[in-house]
Each structure stands twice: as C-alpha cells, then as structure tokens.
Amino acid sequence: MNLASMKKNQFMIRTVNLSKIFRTEMVETTALHEVNFKVSKGEFVAIMGPSGCGKSTLLNILGLLDNSDSGEYYFEGIDVSGFGEKQRTNLRKGNIGFIFQSFNLIDELTIFENVELPLLAMKVPMAERKVRVEEILDQMRIGHRRSHFPRQLSGGQQQRAAIARALITSPKLILADEPTGNLDSSNGEQVMQLLEEMNAAGTTIIMVTHSLNHAERAHRIVNLFDGNLVMERSEKVFESINRVV
C-alpha cells in the first residue's frame, strides 16, 4: 500500500489552507498561514521550528482547544473547523490525549485522582475507573505513587503520570507539546520510549519538540517558520505506514 492509494478518510488529520491570526487593537500577527497538513492514522509526526513559529498554535487547533480563522480542518474525515465549544469538547473527550512540557497535573489531586480525571469527564463508573487507573499506573511504573501529590514526585514520574492520564481513555490521537522539555536526558529518554511504545500500539502521535534528536525518532518531521509549513522530512513514512495498515 502506498500513500497515493490511501483513501481520504484514512487520514487522522487533514488541514486545508489553515490560517490563524492573532489580533489586538493595533497589531495583527499571523500565527499560521494557509497550512496544509496531513497525518495518517498510526503516524508519529514531529513538529519543529523556532519559538513563535506557530507550533503550539497548530497543536492547539489540532487538539480542538482553539479554532482557526480560516481554512478547513478534518478530524477523521469530519470537518470540525466550524465546531462550537461544546462540540469540540465532546469530540476531544476520549479521542485526544494531551501531554505538556510542564505536565499540568492538578496540585490538589493525588496521582490517582489526576489520572482518573479524563474518565470522570466521560462519566465512566467508579469501579471501572479504579481498575483502569490502577492498570495504567502499574504500566507506567508509578503504581506505588498513586496516593502522592504531584509535588512529591520527580519530574520524570510526573510526566509519566501525565502520560498515563493522556492514555487512560485509549485516545486515537496524542498531542505532545515538548514532552521532554522539562526533563533531564535520562527521563526524556524514558518518555520518548513510552511515546514510541504507544505509537507501536497504534496511537497516532503529533509531538512538538525543539530536540532534533527526539524529532528524528518520529516517522516524519514537519518544519514551521513564521506560520508557514516549510519543509517535511519523511524518509521513514512509507515504511511505517505500510507496517501499520
């Protein structure tokens, strides 16, 4: 199977002329300019570029946290660019997992409760929640830390908890915004291994990173500059898609 023969709906994500402009009273800043971008199911894509090039903006739009100003955005073949907040929230729930540079764990909740949150949003019954959270915590090797608060954990453990939270709903897409940015090299390596494992299990991953080393472990690297998609390096892409499909 090659890319050309893929059907439209085999793309997890497809954007057509996606633009985003930030406006203040005096200034207009183009964050994204007519970005055409496709990600197939099961793909692992890294987005790179200098600060302010629009990486996070693109990730936010892809994660349905924000809307574009123009252009189209197809999520599993459905045009979601005109979705309102409620529809975006519903689509996000269970389908998209997020991993952040600063982990974004809630300080007042224990590791167990933090990981449990997405299931609460989906109104999963308590007994099932318990089983699933225990399972994923063990999988992430932080089961023994379930009753601790985030501040009591190391950075690596916190990020593993955040990954557990992202994975708990078995999402189709994981969006990782500099997931290793706040970690030392050894913890960073562990996170990358986890991402690769997730991808190997079939999860589509889009990762924003400054580290070329980590980016090269993706199937494809997308470069952004001043809101424009400027270059793609996709040596491994066909091989990988063939493996998944």
């Binding site: 946290l65 907040e85 929230t89 269970g94 974004n104 809630i106 007042e108 909740l109």
Partner: protein, 792 residues
Amino acid sequence: MIRHSLYILLRRITRDKVLYLIILTNLAVGFAAFVVLSTFISDQFNYDKQNKKYDRIYRLQLFMDQKENTIKHTWSVTAALSRKDLVDLPEIEKIALMHDVGDNNKSGVFLSVDKKNQFLTRFGYYADQTVFDIFTFKFIEGDPANALVQPYSMVLSKEVANRMFPGGNALGKQVYGENKVVFNVTGVYEDIPLKSSWRPTFLIPMKIFTPLTGWSTYEKEYKSYSFYTYVLLKPHASSSSVDNKIYDALREYTKEHHPYLRPMSKLYIDPYFEKTMYIIVGLISFLSALILILSSINFINLQTANATTRFREIGIKKTLGFNKKRLWKQFMGESVILTFIAAITGLFLAQLAIPAMNNMLGSETFSGTFKDWRLLVVIFVVTLLTGLLSGLHPAYVISSYNPVAALKQKFISEKTNGISLKKTLVTIQFSISIFMLIVGFIIYRQTQHMLKKELGFNSETVMFTNIVTDQKGSLEPLRQKLLQHPEIKNMCVSDYIPFILPGGDDLNWEGGKPDEKVFVRISNVNYDFVPTFGLKMLDGRNFSREFPADRSKCLINETAAKVFGWKDAVGRHMKVYNKDFEVIGVIKDYVVFSVYSPNEPHFYKLAKDSVMSDAVYAVNFSRGQEKKAMGIVKNEFSQFFPNDAFEFRNMQFLTQNENALKAWKGFSKIMTLTAIITIIISSIGLFGLILFLTQRKMKEVGIRRVLGFSHASLYMTLSSEFIKLILISVLLAWPAAYYVYHVLPAGANKYDLQIWEFVFATLLILIVAVGTISYQIIKALCVRLVDILKDE
C-alpha cells in the same frame, strides 16, 4: 466528580489557610451580624405571641381628634365603654376591664406577708375574671377558671410569688396590700414573657375596685380615662364593625374622642398609627441586608481573585473534555459549600455574641437564634441565595476561561464595554461602607443628643417616693425637720412629678373660641414644687405662702402660653373643672415625660399644704450627699409616717430608664456594633480586593521598576484607581445617609446634622483603603524583580 471537587476544595483550604480564613471570616461575620439583627427584627414582630387567641385579642383605645393635641391616641379609656357600650355587641366574646393598682407610673404598691418586710411591686392590676379567657396565663398553682371570682383574691406572677414566698406554695396564703388590705393568694402564674405589651405582676378582682378606692360610680363614668379594656372577638368577627358601632360612643361628652379596637399584633410595634418602630425596624433590616451584601461582594471579589490561582486546574479540565456547565456547577457548588460553612459559623458566633450583647444592652434585646425555626428557615434560604448569587460571577468567570490561555496561566482581562463589573462591585462596596458608617454616626449622635438634652429640671439631686396614707394634717413639721439638716435643701409634695405623666382635661382658655378646646395636663403641686425640682420661671412668680389667695391662682408652662396664644400670660384666666384660675407665673418648658415626646400644655394648681395620699414626696439634697441625705430622709419620713410603706429613689431612676431613651440607647448600641462590623468586613474586603488587583499589576510594577520609576510614582499609579472609586462612592453614600437622617423618627428632638460626620466616615474608609493599598504595594515593591518578570 463531587468527590473530586470536594477533595480539591478541602485541600485548597488546608493549603491556603490564611486566604480561606479571610474568605470565611468575612462571610461568617456578615452572617453573624445578619443573624443577630434578624433576631432583633423578628422579635419586634413576635410580641404577645404566647397568647393562644392572639389573633382575636384587641385593646380598646381612643382617638382624640383635636388638632392642637400632640398626643392623639391613648389606651387609657373610660370604664363605662366596656360596661355599657361594648357589652351587647354580637362581635365580642369576652371583655376584660382593668385598672392600675396604685399608680404604676409612679412606683406601684407595697405588698407584704408579715406587714414588716415590704415589697414595692409595680404593674399590679385590678382585672375582671374574663382576663383569663382572653390572655393565656400559665398557672403553676391554682385554677384560672375561678382565680379572681372571690373578692380579695390575688393572683401572683412567679417572680412576685418567689419574692414573697421563697419556699413556694403561695396558694392559700395571705398577702397584705399597703398593710391595709388582706388578700388570699388564689393562683400563681409563670412570668409573662418579656416580649409582651402587657406584663402584669399580680392581679386582684375588679369587683373590689369600689371598696378599695371608694369610687362607686366608675362603671358609669365616661370622662375619666384611667381604665384599660381588652376584648376577645368571636372567630371571624370584624373589628371594624365594632369600631363603626362605637365610633360616636363618647359624643355626648367629647365629640372629638372616638373609641376603636387595636389588634394585639399592633400593640407593641404600632399601637398608635405611628411609623417610628417601622422606620427603626426597617432601617435595621436594611442595614442587616447591607452587611450581608457587603460581605457577599467581598466573597465574590475574593473568590474571583482566588480563581486566578486555578488556571491549571481549569485549563486541564477543559482540555480533558469537562464542559463549561460541569465546571460552572463545580464552582457554584464550592461557593454554596463555603457559604454554608460561613453561615453555620456565623450562627454559632451569633449564639455566642447574643448573651454578651444582651448584657451590653442591659436587656433581652436579642433572643436565641436556634429558638425560632422560622428564623432558621429564613437563614437557610438567605444562605443558599447568598451562595448561589455570590458564586455566579466567579463560576462564570472561571468556567469561561479559554483552556489555552488558562494553561499558559495568563490573566484573562475582563472584556467590558464601559463600566466593568469589578469596578461596579468595588464602588457598591465602598458606598455601603461609607453609608453605614455615616448612619452609625447619625444614630450615635442622635442618642447622645437625647441623653444630654437639657431636661429642664434637677434630676441629679432629687429623690422621690410615692406614699399612700390615711394620715392627715400639715406637712410643715416634717419639712421643717428635714430642713434642719444641711444636706437637705427642700421638700415638696405633688400628685405628679417630671417623668410621671399626669392626666388632664380638654380646656378652653381666655381668648379661645367658645368651642375650642385643647388637652391640658393638670397637676396639683405645693409651694415648694418649683424650687425642689429647680424649675425656671419665665414670667411671673411661683406659688407663695405669703399670698393666701394663691389657692385660686395657677401656673402654666411655656407651651400652654404658646398654644393659647398668650404673649402676656400672667393675669390671664382659665377655667379648670368649673373653677376659675388666674395665671401668676409661666414655668419654662421641661421634659415632662419623655425626651422623645414634644412638649404639651401643662396647668399647675396649688395643692393643700398638708399630707396628701397617693402623692409623690420629693426631696432636694446637697450635691454629693446622696447617701447621707437618703439616711436622713428615711429616718424622718419613717417617724412622720410610722404606718406607711415607702421607698425613696433618685430621680435619675426615672429619667435614665425612660422607655424612649432606653430604646434609643439600645438602637445606638446596635448601630455602634453595626459600624464596627462594617469596618471589619470592609477591611477584609479591601484587603482581598487590593491583593487581587496588585497581583494583576505585578508585571506592570516590575517593568516600571526596571525602567527606574520611583516608588512614589508607583504608589500613585496603584492607588489612584481606588481613590477615584471612593470619590464616586461618596456621591452615592452621602445622599442616602442624609435621607436616613431625614426620616429618623426623633420627634421634636432631632439633632443638627454636621458635615464632619460625613467627612469623618469617608476618611475612615479612605484610611482603611490607603492602609491596605500601602501594605500591598510595599509588598509588591519588595518582591525581587526577576521573580515578578519570570512569573509572568
């Protein structure tokens, strides 16, 4: 979800103890004040409710439709009305006629078990047996069905019974009245609750009124207003139908006087169609609501400020698919929970504060909060509403955060067109604070004005007693003996003295139209009344022993001269009880009964210079010699009246316990308390608010500091916004406070408003604001620059 939300709330409370302590203290103090003031308000409407037939009990009153009269209503009525006019009316089920035993205004009567130990007892009444069919008396001993059937029976309140028969079992025992009449105790009832408009301490049968007073024709008497009548209407009967039937019952005697029935529900709060109590209760209700609004606004501001520390939680929850509604519910829930915690704390605070406050006010002004379930329901509803309304804004703000911005922990500025909600809330907060402080001042100053008001007579070095005696003869020997002591300056006898209100009659005067009459109070005084009480003569002279013809002369007061339109009153004539009197002097007005009441026309005729029974004996003593003088007076009076009981008291007993003044003192203390709470809540609110706003301006402060701005200019930048809002608040608060002064029911004795009261209250709020701002700004200026800029 609920469990998670509760965990988050609890863990936040444990982590940010100081902040939540401020948030909860603010609301708890607000609630405590609200609860305390609500009990006061609810009490005002709960008088007499112990009576089971409350809704059917009415008091007979008179409307005196004379424009010259300052007092238009009275519940002292004639006996004939109840014995003749009311008897056959189909609407009426029971009638009870009553009369004071002795004079309750003066001092009451002496009761004794052994003729030796005398108990001066006020508020005893002659009453028909039907009194027990109308009012609810809880009998401890005896049977209400026949307690007043036998002549010379006596029913005692528990307090009086305990005083006279400390061992209990008063039933069947004998009690001496004024050492002259023997009564049999036929019953003992629980003391009438304090919140009652009528609180008899003992009752004796009306049927012995004639034998004891010698007044045999009282039941036919239409002109003597000294009786009280209560009626019980039949179920569903209309009082207005009775009013119509008795409206002209007195036309043959005084066509301007009209009897009517006043329901028991109005007897305390509004006996005479006056707005006074309503205004006071309304004002206190308004202030208690304002306190709650003030603390709710603080709560809103503090919670909104607090929300800025929850960006991550909100951002993550939104990212994970929690919708706006669920977040909204979570924060509304938090608000309601916090409000309930505060309300429960407030209830306990109030419960703790009430005894201390009753102690401070010297009465049971406030009753327990947990006693009245209706009040608890009101508090529950108010708490729920406060929680919901206070949570509305913070919950809306929080749940509307954009997840991207929230995760970046950016302050989300309020999008507004023109006036921002925050500024509006702050302005309301300042306005309420300033308003309440000014009103506090106004009430305080008004009370002080009444307390310090020139009474117009000597109340400090005069003592008095009431004596009922069979003794006759000249009083001069006693007077001479007393005057031999240097501590005693003078002595007089009169039937009434200042603060013991005499009765009167509708009189015509020289120069008045033939049918024109005005109610004039009438007193019998002896030669020494004016000097003993230190009254001032405006014109003419006092009665004198050197002028035997003075028996047909009289004195009047300043108001009488004014009402009669007499510029030269001396030498004028007036007819009182068909006898002609010539005015020989005009007494300068003094406070006759109450500092609250306006002055009324007063007529004084010369009493016989001999012993008077049921009269007031007053002695003027040298300043600082009260104790010694009291001993002398007791000794000399005991020798002169060996068979009669008496008890001397200082005049200040009357003046300082006068009802209106007492009410004002209580009101003033409530206002002082309200003002203190206002300052506390305002300070908490300002602290939270300024903390929030300076927090937001940290980056600005940092950049300005990097650029080299001086601390003074930074101070101005941060504080100018608040000062502007305070000035706007002044425009709202001052006119509102002036309005309160305007409607304040101070009768004829309203004090002159001073601008400094307004300025002072405003300055106080300004000082609190500037103090808090300064603290926060200094804190902001002390933070390391790198930390501020890094945080942002």
